[in-house]
Symmetry: C4
Subunit: 255 residues, 4 copies
């Protein structure tokens, strides 16, 4: 029984793929994110039938994750390095084990104390459940490796991008905020920074934009010249992540 | 006659290029998409002369595609694998043959029953005509191959992108929806998700954007750091599609 | 004198770089584009002093280009292939020579007939002056080569991109136009196409966007999945253009 | 003492990394940019306590940079090439030394003359402090190298991009400005240029967009075909910058 559960729960126990039990846990985590989202929607959480559904779902998930947590500690003993009291202590202080605990404990405590399980801070802690899934997607791990492999290039390009954003904001602050029609939205550098980010990332919400001919002239130059520079850090990271995934596939690492 | 029609209708019968008859059919399909679009335009379909034009066009197309369907079954017999009753059955149950049938049958039935041929569900079925053209553009086939070749990288990068979108939405929900000016558009996570998608894909409609300094600060960081990550799946697919096309050209596959 | 003018006017007569006279002509063309733009600005062209400046500038440019045209025909005779009457005829019917003629003749004719030189159609013909500069930027020529080298990939990716745009528009037309709040802007497929293009190219003006939860859900999926696909043709062309430039540099072609 | 200060102040004196003193100076420059931004914010600079904080900070920074400037000249003598009066003169006329001077002198002069140190032009001169940090980020230097290495490709792609922007603006000016609903925002080519830049860089503020079917049709074609072309110069530069960084890392240059 313990051995079967070990095979089911510990991803490293399988050569490839994901066990049925872990698949259910992943599904449950995804479902809990869907419910976390729906729970905040006023048009739903004010209706009693939905509120009841949310409550039932939250209690169920907390119980399942609590049982899972205990089971994981129990089966961890099969691995020699987690045997004995010292081994168990080593196991529960692991990053993943702490995340497993955070995924249900705070909410469980509040429930036992009579709270509704929907306190603000608890909701945020549910994001710890992300780490529960990250375990099964080795590629999440590749994100960190990609960050490390490209760190110096990333920092450099980020510095260049931020400099461009800052200088653009200062320029437009002078042209549109101090000069021009004294637009409210360009009346200080921090406000102009909001415009600079929205423009140079090409998001362009349209809440702020230059209206004077001079402001539009500089803005056009900044847009044409600067977009590639601000996209540089993102591009550097994307390329490092892609390289990391390729190398892992070639090394035969599980993906 | 049958042999000539075979040469004209079956793309595999030609070493390269597209026959005149098939070119006409492709043109007719494209024209039918143009008409499908125009037909829905209130400023046109309320005018009797346009409505008549649409009706005549639809009837013509349905008749032509019906004739084409019968002709295809007839000439299919030249290919040994579709000879005899079993062969014909095998032919008409092919994916492409079913698409050929869906391209006219539902509308034909409604017309014979006296309906106007402009029912809602019929319009959607006309999209099946896309498959009629896909046959002549082998590259549509390359799309599927590109999806398969990059599937693991694609899933990974999609998971990372969606996680970033979700976490961004949760963050801005707390900062702008619960805190700040209690903006309606950030009042729940599902609403904040709409903002997160619009921002991280850089579409930036401008219907939703943070207004508090803190919300703008986080939003700026998310935009600069996140755009490359959300563009990752699209980039992975684009690159796989491009590689697939290059390889096919090198292998000498018809494109 | 003729030989010196030949050296100055004909770019092929120099090993590299651009002659002073041609540099002046390029500058004049660029200036004429600036003036073409300013001339259309109501806040300028209604002021008499600006209107006079525009008139003087236009006359000057037309005269200079006329003189240049005659000079080019005269010096062309130095090249053996353009010698004699047949040679001259061959020269004036060249693509570049016709463009040189279009750059001043229509406006000259109107001026001689007493017109103001600011007729609508004449303005458009001034765009022919672009070809006058293209001669000196061999890379404009590389554009055509890049189009040819990537034509099959370009057509394929364009077909895929347009299909995605069309299908997205049809989907949102059903969800937002027919269902939902019956939004005016999604009330027909042609209107939804405008939304689809603005979204999938990430321009996102914000004049049209889905407002129903279902419309936003599909829109989000389309945006995340589709952006890379619609950017594909542009990416294919950009990469072909970049390759073409690299190859030319390696071959030692003048750039 | 002089030798220790030399080790601390001159980056070339260290094999790698950055000294504590220089780190403090970098931090101070970054802080001064934060303060420069905050200082312009009306909701802050009208409050006496903030105004006092800004004044104190500015005076402190000016004094520290003045001391640093003198110290740098003093320790420069350790390097043989800056020894003696001629060497000192050579040192103070270096680009970096002039930037060091501009980082405090103008503000110091105004302060001594009794001005508040918040004059407009002084604020802009503070941007010279950027160069103080650039010294410690050799990658800023790589920007220039990337510009040089890709200059011909960059100019070519910029010319193509600008041509496309101009021609798009002319086209929409005719369709939307002269024809259509005579939209104010397309009423001249310079105005249409603002639309063309916003569209082709995909910023899409939404302050200007075509409203007639014909304008939207051309606009859609321009958007799909043109985005890659306008992104070309930025892409060329980004790729040259990335190559430059890679080469430097391989050559073992400090980054």
């Amino acid at each position: 029984m313990q051995r079967w559960l070990y095979q089911q729960l510990v991803p490293e126990a399988r050569a490839s793929g994901i066990s049925l039990l872990n698949l259910i846990i992943v599904g449950l985590v995804l479902l809990s994110f869907l419910f976390l989202a729906l729970e905040t929607e006023p048009t739903l959480n004010t209706k009693p039938e939905w509120a009841r559904l949310f409550a039932v779902f939250n209690v169920t998930v907390v119980i399942i994750f609590a049982v899972e947590y205990v089971a994981r500690i129990w089966v961890a003993g099969i691995d020699p390095q987690y045997r004995g009291l010292g081994g168990q202590l080593k196991y529960v202080t692991r990053f993943y084990s702490v995340a497993d605990l955070m995924a249900f404990l705070p909410e469980l405590v509040v429930m036992l104390m009579g709270g509704g399980g929907s306190l603000l801070v608890l909701r945020v802690l549910r994001l710890a459940r992300l780490i529960k899934i990250a375990r099964f997607i080795p590629a999440f791990d590749a994100l960190g490796a990609a960050l490390r492999r490209s760190s110096s290039q990333l920092l450099t390009s980020l510095a260049v991008a931020l400099t461009l954003v800052y200088v653009s904001a200062v320029l437009l602050y002078f042209v549109e905020g101090l000069g021009g029609h004294h637009q409210e939205e360009f009346a200080s550098i921090p406000r102009a920074l909001w415009w600079a980010v929205a423009t140079l990332t090409t998001v362009g919400y349209g809440d702020v934009y230059p209206v004077t001919p001079l402001g539009r002239f500089f803005s056009a130059i900044i847009a044409i010249a600067g977009i590639g520079v601000v996209a540089l850090p993102a591009g550097v990271f994307a390329s490092a992540f892609s390289d990391e995934l390729k190398e892992r596939r070639e090394r035969g690492t599980r993906l």
